[in-house]
């Protein structure tokens, strides 16, 4: 190969790739508005993005999977822990993570900043990410959970308990989160109906409840309550 041929490999390789990138970048700008619901980018959402950057949240938490790996991903935090969960963690991290081996700093955000941050995370939760992240997929059982139900014969309630992210806050037999209470003995305290009522809308049963109202069908609630009733 001559040096001239090598030069043309260099030029053509670079240009082809560059043209692809620039053309697709143009197309990205045409489509990103719909994919991210840019019409919902209100001034409050933008103020929330400022707050997100001001407090350097992104160097502990990933968002869209980018950033620090020290805290959970925030893309779907609004689905996962809801507005009250976000508020609780930001306002009172010393309480929310009192039993956690990893802490979150208390940054003393103003009430307005917290509102904005919530609006921002609400907006991010509806970006079309092709169903990423897998741990926060909203409307389907993971393939792993389906296998558990079909193969090992565990109850649908147990599979749902795992799949709907209950472990994020609650623990069973020492496995799981510490934000909510441990559910090892829940069946000896509450019966199935009481559990179901609570899951359906926690704040209706207890106005002080930290737990959120999750988007669950009545069959799912029934299955979960049946599973939890047996934790004695």
């Amino acid at each position: 190969m001559s040096k001239k041929a090598a030069f043309w490999i260099f030029i053509s390789g670079t240009l082809v790739s560059l043209i692809i990138l620039l053309a697709l970048t143009f197309d990205f700008h045409q489509k990103v508005k719909a994919l991210t619901h840019a019409e919902n980018l209100s001034p409050q959402v933008l103020a929330g993005k400022w707050a997100w950057e001001k407090y350097n949240c992104n160097d502990c938490h990933t968002i869209l999977g980018f950033g620090g790996y020290y805290g959970p991903d925030m893309t779907r935090a609004y689905w996962r822990i809801g507005e009250s969960g976000i508020r609780y963690a930001v306002e009172k991290p010393e309480q929310a993570f009192a039993n956690s081996f990893r802490k979150m700093p208390k940054k003393n955000l103003s009430p307005e900043e917290i509102d904005n941050l919530v609006a921002f995370l609400k907006w991010t939760s509806q970006i079309d990410t092709h169903d990423w992240p897998p741990q926060d997929r909203k409307f389907k059982l993971s393939s792993e959970a389906k296998r558990l139900v079909a193969g090992a014969g565990i109850s649908v309630g147990a599979a749902l308990f795992k799949d709907k992210g209950c472990f994020n806050c609650h623990a069973l037999q020492g496995v799981g989160g510490t934000t909510g209470s441990s559910l090892d003995k829940i069946g000896s305290k509450l019966d199935k109906e009481a559990i179901a009522r609570y899951i359906e809308d926690p704040s209706k049963v207890n106005p002080q409840a930290k737990m959120l109202k999750f988007d669950l069908s009545s069959e799912e609630i029934e299955a979960l309550a049946k599973f939890l009733e047996n934790q004695k």
């Binding site: 490999i9 260099f10 390789g13 997100w52 001001k54 949240c57 992104n58 956690s100």
Partner: protein, 443 residues
């Protein structure tokens, strides 16, 4: 050392080494954060986020100072004239270092742009841009006045210009988070797989030329081919960052195909390095320099090529994206492709700057192997933690902190290897700063 002005490179090297040491110390602190429960009071004033910002910005700063020092060192030799203005070179160093120190101290007090790796606040970005412009001016003028154009010079200058231009994409406040990350990667990805590759390929080509005596014609031909492939796979390969950020689905194909080919030029670079070393026409004076050069090529393939490839395909990346698997890749790739390259340059240049023809290299060799082995161990430990996280959190659906609990052990391993790595870094820095001549060649 033929040209007096080459000595401006030395302070660049010394400061870069010092920042490297600091970077590793902050890295160890970050590892502690992962397995040890720190009190809330400490977390409030010095959170993980701040330490991470410092760790990563130190990385960028010492890499860039190393590249700049390396450029100033090779420039007179390539252009056959002194550097246009050594005074500007010193001024630019002071400007960048002061900016860097202000930025790092600012992070501790919460002054930040708040975007990973681009935390330097916007007012300071202007100082960085001015520093970069002075550098480009100085390098460009030296080349223009030298009127002795070579492919190595052209590649180097093009890489530096692209590097500076891409930085501009990191400065604005983007309204849409997806657009924000889209262009964030123009800085980060197109740096490490575009501009930085050009700069380091030019530098390594020059060093191979110098230590092996292989004809320039051959070295430069390979440089073209490698860079052509690097940029062909690398530029559109940016798509492997666009899978899940709110971009159209075709990126899964573009990113998967182009980045799947990314190991090819790295393999080629490794073959080429071995070839040059085999067909050398000069006696190798200081074998440690080419241990470093070959080590750089091998580790580049391992860290960037292999560890990059394993999670670049969309069906795998869906589960590994944003997990410790990325941290494993990041550490191995930066060390292999860039840290070892800078150290290769330092081991080539510093003896020349000190007028030492043959240097005692036993200590340097110890430092090299400690760093390489420790980084391999660290990368693997990060990798195991990443696989655990991927499986427990993303496949099994256990909560984030449950998975993190199972990963704690592996962060102790990361920390242990980090300590070993630190000892290698200290040995290497000590050795580089106190190089002693040896009467006979050591083998």
């Amino acid at each position: 050392m033929e040209y007096k002005s080459q000595k401006v490179a030395y302070p660049y090297f010394v400061i870069a080494l010092f920042l490297f040491l600091l970077q590793v110390l902050f890295g160890l602190w970050l590892a502690i954060n992962y397995f040890f429960t720190l009190p809330q009071g400490l977390v409030n004033v010095f959170p993980f986020a701040t330490a991470r910002a410092i760790h990563t910005n130190l990385l960028v700063l010492w890499m860039l100072l190393g590249f700049m020092g390396g450029t100033y060192f090779l420039l007179p030799d390539e252009t056959k004239r002194e550097i246009y203005s050594p005074g500007l070179a010193y001024f630019q160093l002071v400007l960048l270092v002061v900016t860097g120190v202000v930025a790092l101290v600012g992070f501790v007090f919460g002054w930040t742009q708040g975007r990973p790796l681009l935390e330097i606040p916007r007012p300071l970005d202007f100082a960085v841009v001015i520093g970069a412009l002075i550098f480009l001016f100085n390098v460009g003028m030296t080349m223009l006045k030298g009127k002795n154009w070579t492919v190595i010079q052209g590649t180097l200058l093009a890489g530096l210009i692209v590097l500076a231009l891409l930085y501009l994409f990191g400065i604005p406040f983007y309204h849409n988070l997806s657009v924000d990350w889209y262009y964030w990667w123009w800085v980060i990805h197109l740096w490490v797989e575009g501009a930085w590759e050009m700069i380091t390929a030019a530098i390594i080509a020059w060093i191979l030329l110098k230590i092996t005596g292989v004809p320039r014609e051959v070295v430069e031909k390979w440089l073209y081919v490698e860079l052509g492939l690097f940029l062909f796979t690398g530029i559109a390969g940016i798509g492997h960052h666009y899978y899940w950020l709110g971009a159209p689905k075709y990126w899964l194909y573009v990113g998967g195909i182009f980045s799947g080919l990314e190991p090819v030029p790295i393999i080629l670079m490794l073959i080429d390095t071995f070839k040059h070393v085999k067909h050398r026409q000069l006696e190798i004076k200081n074998p440690l320099v080419w241990t470093y050069a070959v080590g750089c090529a091998v580790f580049h393939l391992l860290g960037a090529g292999v560890f990059g490839f394993v999670h670049t395909l969309p069906m795998i990346n869906y589960y590994t994206h944003g997990s410790q698997v990325t941290a494993a890749h990041g550490h191995m790739a930066f060390f292999g492709a860039y840290a070892l390259l800078n150290l290769t340059v330092f081991y080539y240049a510093i003896p020349k700057l000190k007028g030492i023809e043959f240097f005692k290299e036993s200590l340097g060799r110890v430092g090299f192997w400690i760093m390489v082995i420790a980084m391999t161990g660290m990368g693997l430990a990060f990798g195991v933690a990443g696989v655990l996280q991927t499986y427990l959190e993303r496949v099994m659906g256990l909560g984030y902190m449950t998975a993190q609990g199972e990963m704690r052990f592996w962060f102790k391993i990361v920390f242990s290897f980090g300590l070993i790595f630190l000892s290698g870094v200290i040995i290497t820095i000590y050795d580089l700063l106190t190089l002693k001549p040896s009467v006979k060649r050591e083998g």
